[in-house]
């Protein structure tokens, strides 16, 4: 082993920091997902969340194994490139890029929706131009801050995460103790059970409450002893997010609002009934629920919109940061042109990537806001897309991008188990079948097959039920593949095959940099005992 190289001292994220990093990204999703799923899945909202939640747990386990085994930033794109080759690595990375740009717009949009709970002039349906302008200013501001290299401090991120975990627990406590009626839950589920089509729509939107697991692998490169820390924090993160999603959905269906809600004709409404056909409410589900929780709602009605807006803005910012980082990583792997590696001479940030993907986020914003801003556009949308509103359009694409990239991650996990059984795995997803593959004993992960079926079915639901998603999502992928083919041909690189990679040295380097020296020694030992043909 060479003694000249020294481990880099840049891993400063602690176990709590790793949890907070993930939570500030994934934890914000329920703030958007709750209202959207209630609008479509109605009496089956909790079932939609349960189905998506089970798939999410499997995705989380897959990410935990991969991030602990290959603790590098780059996430799904890196795992897929390593497991399935350059072309599929590009597709997974391109889908993640779609998700990150949607993330920027969707979370900024919903941030303004939450603020509208306190500042009525921000209500989208009443003042569409104001809403649009504020979202635009937020995106432009985040673009500027990221170009300048200003990021929210880890301490701030950790504090917001801690306050939010506390706040959500208290809302659920007060809600389940004082407002929850099990008989009402049963009655709502029996009387408002949706059609199969609406349930599929609900499930496809429920998955957006769990998007952001990329952050587990993003954090991996900066976490101390990632192979030991990541599994611990990931499991706590996965369970926490799942519990909040299931908790809110069950509470929303079975709660008696503290203040009775009436429609225009004076009829009393159940809480969940304020969401269908109401884009304004769909964007701020948690704030509306918190305000209806007895006692704690007195306080929660004021602070939850602000807390939600801050969390959503942090998440929107992670979209700007993440898209530029993924584009930079893809460019370094020669999956995207080198222009995306270009660093601003003064601020030393990937300015071209930041500006490109923020511009794309603005295009998505215009497309989402157009029906509200212009009556002519609204009639076109009504004719072509059954009148989907802005937030649903963004939710569609978000679900499409996530389901596509997660599908490839499961395939990559299976491929890596088969092709790279020598990398030590401190955490393995359970239920494995030992088989012999190319002369080596490997463990085939059955759970990954289940997870793939689950996420592929959610992808199918998205394509079947979302008029815009089924057009815009695949169009994004086709556009990307055309650009990829042109780029790789211009550079005389193989298009559908991979360029040569030295994964063995790369893995040794990754483990050395992570400070996982025992694992590195174990890896080198495993390679010595490997059949020569297999250990390439």
């Amino acid at each position: 082993m060479s003694q000249q190289r020294k481990p880099e001292l840049r891993r400063a994220v602690t176990p709590w920091g790793s949890f907070a990093w993930g939570y500030s990204d994934v934890g914000a999703d329920i703030f958007i997902g709750l209202g959207l799923v209630l609008a479509y899945a109605a009496g089956a909202t909790n079932v939609a969340f349960l189905f998506a939640g089970i798939v999410y747990v499997l995705i989380g386990l897959a990410y935990t194994e991969l991030a602990a085994t290959y603790p590098v930033a780059g996430g799904g794109q890196y795992f897929v490139m390593r497991g399935l080759g350059d072309f599929f690595g590009f597709i997974a990375g391109w889908a993640v890029l779609l998700d990150f740009t949607i993330d920027v717009t969707l979370f900024a949009w919903s941030c303004v929706d939450y603020l509208s709970q306190l500042i009525p002039v921000f209500v989208s349906s009443l003042h569409p131009w104001v809403h649009f302008s504020v979202v635009f200013v937020l995106i432009a501001g985040l673009c500027g801050l990221n170009t300048l290299g200003v990021r929210e401090s880890t301490a701030f991120q950790s504090s917001v995460s801690a306050i939010d975990v506390l706040s959500e627990t208290l809302i659920l406590c007060f809600g389940f103790l004082f407002a929850f009626d099990p008989q009402l839950l049963i009655h709502t589920m029996q009387s408002a059970w949706p059609s199969p089509f609406a349930l599929m729509q609900g499930v496809s939107l429920a998955i957006i409450s769990f998007v952001g697991l990329e952050s587990i692998s993003q954090a991996a490169q900066e976490t101390q002893r990632p192979a030991s820390v990541i599994p611990r924090t990931s499991i706590a993160l996965i369970l926490t997010i799942l519990i909040f999603a299931l908790g809110y959905s069950n509470l929303a269906l079975g709660m008696r609002p503290w203040h009775p809600i009436h429609d225009a004709a004076g009829h009393t409404l159940a809480f969940w009934q304020i969401f269908p056909n109401n884009g304004d409410n769909q964007g701020k589900g948690v704030a509306l629920l918190a305000a209806q929780v007895p006692y704690w709602g007195l306080l929660a009605q004021y602070y939850v919109p602000i807390l939600g807006a801050i969390l959503l803005l942090i998440s929107s910012n992670s979209g700007v940061f993440g898209s530029s980082r993924i584009a930079y990583a893809m460019s370094r792997s020669r999956l995207l042109p080198s222009v995306f590696q270009r660093v601003h001479h003064k601020f030393r940030t990937p300015a071209v990537s930041i500006l490109t993907f923020c511009a794309l986020a603005v295009v998505e914003l215009i497309f989402a806001a157009l029906p509200g801003l212009d009556h002519g556009a609204r009639s076109v949308y009504n004719r072509l897309f059954h009148g989907e509103d802005g937030i649903t359009f963004l939710g569609d694409l978000y679900a499409f991008g996530a389901a596509t990239s997660y599908s490839f991650v499961f395939l990559a996990l299976i491929a890596l188990r088969l092709n790279d059984p020598y990398s030590p795995r401190k955490f393995k997803i359970p239920v494995n079948v030992p088989i012999t593959y190319r002369g080596a004993r490997v463990e085939f992960p059955l759970i990954a097959v289940l997870g793939f079926i689950g996420i592929a079915s959610i992808l199918a639901f998205t394509i079947i039920t979302h008029d815009i998603g089924r057009v815009a999502g695949p169009a994004w992928l086709v556009f990307g593949v055309i650009c990829y083919v042109i780029y790789r041909k211009n550079k005389n690189l193989p298009v559908f095959r991979s360029q040569p990679h030295d994964w063995r040295n790369a893995q040794t380097e990754i483990l050395r940099n992570a400070g996982e020296l025992e694992l590195m020694d174990q890896y080198l030992e495993n390679l010595k005992s490997a059949p020569k043909a297999a250990a390439k």
Binding site: F176, L239, T240, G247, G254
Partner: protein, 60 residues
């Protein structure tokens, strides 16, 4: 601070048990399944965090 954190995790366990008990009290209907799973998860997370916390405090 230690006691506060432990109390917080214990709250998860108590809340999980209360949710399951209230749902089962409403009778055995298929509609309570997601809620019962929620309660079990809540309690499990509390137990997991308490165990994790105590393990990290235990002398090496």
């Amino acid at each position: 601070m230690t006691n506060v954190r432990l109390a917080f995790f214990a709250l998860y366990v108590v809340l999980g048990v209360i949710i399951v008990a209230r749902l089962l009290g409403a009778g055995l209907h298929p509609e309570i399944v997601p809620g019962v799973i929620l309660g079990i998860l809540f309690a499990s997370l509390g137990v997991y965090r308490i165990a994790q916390f105590l393990r990290s405090r235990a002398p090496q």
